[in-house]
Amino acid sequence: MIVVKSIVKQTWAGLRVLLALTVLLGVLYPLAVWGVSRIPGLHNQAEGSVVNENGQPVGSSLIGVDPVAADPDHDPWFHNRPQAVTADPKDSNNPLPPGDPSVSGASNKAADNPDLVKAVQARQDAIAKREGVSNDKVPADAVTASGSGLDPAISPAYAELQVPRVVRVTGLPEAKVRQLVADHTSGRGAGVLGEPTVNVLELNLAVRAAGGHA
């Protein structure tokens, strides 16, 4: 009986402690962080690092959404990595479906999964054809889906692979496009953290702003 009484008493005390801590940690704390995030310098990041063009939001510099070419034979875009999970099931037969930021997630397939082998092969074929190169020139990040499916970046090697096509389609000088790629390449953090990346959305906007017709 004493044990039961002690448990009941402690449980009621627990409920009161929980409710008090909910006010502190579940209401005041997140609202305080949110309040601080309103100050200039933090506000833009807090609301998703949205990129505007002519006052219109065109995307987030942190979210990769693979652009769709109006005419696939005349494709002016640098492309993102493939996305494993998309909301539209009819895209599942397309090796390189259009980007869809409404869902995040990975394929969760193992390297010995036959479906993944097939998908990598199909992506490699499609990209090699698009860029007019042999399959062995296509880098690993181009044919694999990322962990989030929203990877905003590609490797410098994948950007390099796409330069000749973008030059051909946009009519910009090759040196100019290479310059833009270099401008939107970030090295490793502090020279050692993570990997060098090329931000695809910002690069595409810069190519268009430079007069590359899209």
């Binding site: 402690q10 942190l62 930021p101 397939k109 082998v117 044919v143």
Partner: protein, 553 residues
């Protein structure tokens, strides 16, 4: 600089940062749990909730407090999800079904943060903040409280009192977790992490296609998610999502947050027991195993294995470009060596040995360096077993930190250690016998077995990371994994508190020539050996059929 070279410098920066805060944070935490003074905000809180902060409790009352608190936490979190449709900031996201609500409530209260739902489509901001964020704090504070109670068992003598459970939980949350989480939430925002109360933002891409990008109050949950070794993402892709973990800087900061408290708690332990070398001995064991497992995972990921990775040219499936292989391996090793379970890449797509390493980290009972509080009490339990084994070899009554390890101590320590393997092996075995399990797997063959094993290891150890290809939304998985989370959390906690009570009631045995020294390399080797031995004896057959078979194929 080469990939590997940069990876090593990054590792060096992490270790230096941990070394810098080790003493101040460890000693600060010791002061938090030994100070007689209450902060003003704490005094107000104790008055409002009508608990006497200056009374101390027996182990049974302390345990009743932990259980009662966790029970009402599950109930409140369950109700919040079941009532979501009437809560503000739900954006039309309706009430969650009973199975998911139960699983999620248990998951966050037990510090597991296993997720069988897609947060950005089903979870509104109110449940995220007032429900899940709160449990991110208090489940970690419960872990701290239990660890501190066990340390007091060694420090105190001839008493039946372990401390006040409410004071320990409140102090852990208010004095340790809250200030660090607040500071790093702001730092994360400065580096690009999102903190928005809106549903999302509509954009028209450069190709003219319209999209909605989901937003959430990420930063406030992200910092405590890592600091409290919780791991539950506010977005589906977890720390692989660019809004949670936007770049290589935030990635390193998040790894630091995951490790900082479990590592520094060994200092807290050393300070509280009055011999800091006792703490460094435990840290050495954690560090050696952590480094060994990092080597395994990193090497495995850098050497592609399996036809898809060989065809692509590198194991980049499920990894983000900005992290690459070294930073993904470092994160995977740290999240599974603690009870975090946040992921910055898809663990299911790790190579056979890489994923096997992540799995093995959990099967070590998460002591490399383990979760907040749970890591310290788990390795102390292993230390008791190690000292006992040494005592058997020389035929002496074993003693550790001036306390005799008798029948009661060894029994409770054994229960604490054996709960997890029992749950993992029985749970996986039952799941494999179910006809529907094959259909729930995302991969077949050896890797499919690893998915099942990983799910039960992750929940029974309160880790929460997943081989995400497995579909766990069936009632069978929701309930069995939920039960594994509960038993995997509370059986060890009750055993550890009983152990603490037993140790505290003993008188102190003076050190003699026959006492096994528990600070030097000899003890470090013995303790690491005990951890390896227990894991090997219980899990080698299962591992051989899963990750090892995959790696050798």
């Amino acid at each position: 600089m080469s990939d590997t070279g940069a990876g090593f410098v990054q590792l060096g920066i992490l270790l230096v940062a941990l070394a810098v805060v080790y003493r101040p944070l460890g000693d600060y935490m010791a002061r938090v749990f030994t100070s007689k003074k209450h902060l003003k905000v704490e005094r107000v809180l104790y008055r409002v909730v009508r608990v006497n902060p200056d009374s101390e409790q027996r182990w049974t009352t302390y345990a009743a407090g932990v259980l009662g608190f966790s029970f009402v936490s599950v109930v409140v979190l369950y109700l919040l999800q079941r009532l979501q449709s009437v809560l503000p900031f739900n954006f039309g996201r309706g009430t969650l079904d009973p199975a998911t609500s139960f699983n999620t409530a248990v998951s966050f209260v037990t510090n597991t943060n296993w997720q069988s739902y897609v947060p950005e489509t089903v979870m509104g901001h109110t449940v995220q903040m007032a429900g899940l964020t709160v449990q991110n704090f208090v489940s970690a504070a419960v872990g701290l409280a239990v660890a501190v109670a066990l340390v007091r068992g060694f420090v105190r003598a001839k008493t039946d009192r372990l401390g006040n459970v409410w004071v320990d939980i409140v102090r852990g949350a208010v004095r340790i977790l809250l200030p660090i989480a607040f500071l790093f939430a702001i730092v994360l925002i400065a580096f690009g992490t999102v903190m928005s109360l809106t549903k999302g933002v509509d954009v028209t891409g450069p190709d003219g296609v319209q999209h909605t990008i989901a937003l959430a109050p990420v930063a406030s949950q992200e910092s405590i998610k890592e600091l409290g070794t919780n791991g539950g993402g506010i977005l589906n892709a977890n720390s692989a999502h660019p809004f949670e973990n936007p770049n290589s800087w935030t990635n390193l900061i998040e790894i630091f947050l995951i490790l900082v408290i479990p590592v520094s708690l060994t200092r807290t332990f050393g300070t509280m027991v009055g011999n800091k070398r006792q703490g460094t001995a435990l840290l050495a064991v954690m560090g050696i195993l952590w480094a060994g497992m990092l080597t395994l995972i990193w090497w495995a990921e850098a050497h592609p294995n399996g036809p898809a990775a060989l065809l692509a040219g590198a194991g980049m499936e499920g990894k983000e470009t900005r992290f690459g292989i070294p930073s993904t391996a470092l994160f995977a090793n740290s999240t599974t060596g603690t009870s975090t379970g946040a992921v910055n890449g898809a663990h299911d797509s790790l190579s056979g040995l890489g994923g096997g390493g992540a799995l093995l980290n959990m099967l070590f009972s998460e002591i490399t360096p383990g979760g907040v509080g749970t890591g310290l009490y788990s390795i102390l339990v292993f230390a008791i077993i190690a000292v006992f084994l040494a005592g058997l070899m020389v035929g002496r009554t074993p003693e550790y930190l001036g306390k005799k390890l008798g029948r009661r101590e060894i029994t409770t320590a054994s229960i604490a250690i054996l709960a997890m393997p029992t749950l993992v092996l029985i749970g996986s075995g039952v799941a494999l016998m179910m006809k529907d399990t094959a259909g729930a797997l995302g991969n077949s063959g050896a890797h499919g077995l690893s998915e099942v094993l990983y799910a039960f290891a992750s929940t029974s150890n309160n880790n929460g990371s997943a081989f995400g290809g497995i579909t766990v939304t069936s009632n069978f998985f929701q309930s069995t994994l939920g039960v594994c989370m509960l038993l995997g959390r509370f059986i060890p906690i009750i055993a550890v508190l009983c152990l603490a009570g037993s140790l505290a009631s003993q008188k102190r045995v003076p050190e003699s020539a026959g006492t096994l020294p528990t600070t030097g390399p000899q003890f470090v080797t013995m303790l690491a050996g005990t951890v390896l031995l227990v894991a090997a004896l219980t899990f080698v057959p299962a591992l051989a059929l899963g990750p090892i078979a995959e790696a050798l194929a």
